[in-house]
Amino acid sequence: MSEPILQIDGLTHGFAGVPVLHQVDLTVEAGDSMALIGPNGAGKTTLLRAAGGLLEPDAGSVRIDGRDLAEMSRREIARRMSYLSQATPQVFDFSALELVLMGFHARTGRFSLPSKTQRERAHAAMRQLEIEHLAERPASVLSGGELQRVLMARTLVARADVWLLDEPTSHLDVRHQLAMLRQVGGHVGDGGTVLAVLHDLGLVHRFFDRVAVLKAGELVATGPVDETLNTDLLSDVFEVELVRGEVDGQTVWTVGG
């Protein structure tokens, strides 16, 4: 059997002496769409950042196609993986289009300016996310949701195999949440791989094949979504009684009691 595309082994990390992740092993196969869920402070973002090589773990390793990230350059990693962070305020007024064009950074030379093809691809990605009309807007006047979609358009143009998405729907209204997550489906359909931190369990059922559940820095469950998520597990992890239901054939979770 071939190497898994993303292999995390014995990952342990802490900040200022406070342990955040403890001995996490996680395997993501090529073509997987995996959701990473867990309560606040469980270590989801830290795990995602470590997976993207954005922090050097205290112990353990992350490998992509069998290669240890610690031995790869930032540029090589960026060509294989796109990391979508939670939208942060911008200091300088790059336009939305300029932000999207930065998705080509790892694939173009130091002195190359955006080509016509790159511009067209950037516009196409923005059209897909319904933000083409914002192309010339400076970043500082974009709303959180608009900026999030701009960053997603950047992920689209970067054309990396693996997407690491940190709460990609946190600033979005319901319609745009669906539009955003359809991109995940599209990427997986094209043979890509997605690992995403998500809070909405209904969306996990609808758009993801697999799920990994983190609690207090430890991985407590991983597997296909429908088999893995059950009342006992989720009630234990989130420390609130959750009830599973079905509406129009879609799984939903609500707070019981």
Partner: protein, 359 residues
């Protein structure tokens, strides 16, 4: 909404912007070359230079008085403006100026310390001190504070070496250096204190300004500029945030280290001779961002030329003001007089553009 041509950088846009700012710089330089308190000015200078028919005294005025000063103002202005643009991007702080990391504090401390020591009698020690000049002492001071700052940044536990460590250490070093300078000013003679004050205000009246010195400082500043242009695209991404920059393929720590070190070197070289000239590194990048946009591939070369033009123009004003005040003002006073109101205008325009949603 109407479709407008997108503003993302094209090579045509890049060259147009650079050409426009170059023309501005050339225009200001020609004005500075042709203006003077002697009755030799205007077209006389231009025609004299073109035809080569200059009297010995005219030759001396142009080649030994005005030209070195104009060239030096250009070099210093370029270093300060590029330094400002780099620090603003790396520290992600629009208020960062070339001095924010303590370069001013260190340079000023080095220079004033030497001036103070010269005043004190140190017997045999003076033989060694005599070898030093304030510029060299200032340069040593600036580089010394930089090594302290980078030392502290490296020393802090992993995961906390963010830009704010650099920023906070710089602020503290500056504050400490100011206190020492104040102490020195209090204990030296009034005449020496006056000399220090002039040095601290920033002046382009540099003793022994030879073409050799200009070539050396200019060479270092140009090399630094070329290196910063090499990193220009990385600066764009770095200004978004550490995680974003790393995710897009930039080695954050390395890029931050090199860009800050290179920009600091250029600034230290410049301020070592002139003392502290404020506002150039703040006003020029902010003004140019409004015109050419925030992309550092166009912003950095434009800042170099725009900074050169700004300081050359400010120096022209100090020379012109001689007629009014019968004394040459420190150029730092003029850059502040012109820079502070300009900065407010830029800020207001920036806010207005934000409100209108276009750049």
């Amino acid at each position: 909404m109407t479709t407008r041509r997108d503003r993302a950088l094209t090579s045509r846009g890049l060259w147009q912007a650079v050409l426009a700012v170059s023309l501005l710089y050339v225009a200001v330089s020609v004005m500075a070359l042709t203006y003077g308190s002697s009755d030799f000015g205007g077209w006389q200078v231009v025609s004299g230079l073109v035809s080569g028919e200059l009297t010995p005294s005219q030759h001396a005025i142009v080649w030994h008085a005005r030209m070195p000063r104009i060239l030096f103002a250009g070099i210093v202005g370029a270093a300060l403006a590029v330094g400002g643009a780099v620090f603003q991007a790396v520290l992600r702080n629009p208020l960062a100026d070339p001095y924010i990391l303590g370069i001013s504090g260190g340079a000023a401390l080095g220079g004033t310390l030497l001036l103070a020591l010269e005043a004190a009698v140190f017997g045999g020690a003076m033989t060694y001190l005599g070898q030093l000049s304030p510029p060299i002492a200032a340069f040593i001071g600036a580089m010394g504070t930089l090594s302290i700052i980078f030392g502290v940044a490296r020393w802090t536990p992993a995961g906390r070496t963010g830009n704010y460590v650099l920023l906070l250490t710089g602020v503290i070093v500056n504050a400490f250096a100011s206190a020492v300078i104040l102490f020195l000013k209090s204990v030296v003679s009034a005449r020496k204190a006056q000399e220090m004050l002039f040095y601290l205000m920033g002046t382009l009246t540099v003793e022994g300004l030879s073409f050799q010195l200009i070539a050396s400082v200019g060479g270092v500043v140009l090399a630094c500029l070329a290196a910063i242009i090499w990193y220009a695209r990385d600066l764009n991404v770095l200004s978004l945030g550490d995680d974003e920059a790393a995710a897009l393929g930039v080695d954050v720590e390395r890029t931050r280290w090199w860009t800050v070190a290179i920009a600091s070197l250029a600034v230290a070289c410049a301020v070592a001779f002139t003392g502290l000239i404020g506002f150039v590194g703040l006003v020029v990048p902010h003004g140019l961002r409004l015109v050419v946009g925030p992309d550092h591939r166009v912003l950095i070369p434009c800042c170099a030329l725009g900074g050169a033009a700004f300081l050359t123009g400010a120096d022209l004003l100090t020379r012109a003001s001689f007629a009014v005040f019968s004394t040459t003002l420190p150029v730092g006073v003029v850059t502040a007089f012109v820079g502070a109101p300009l900065f407010v205008v830029f800020l207001w325009r920036n806010l207005r553009q934000d409100a209108e949603g276009v750049r």
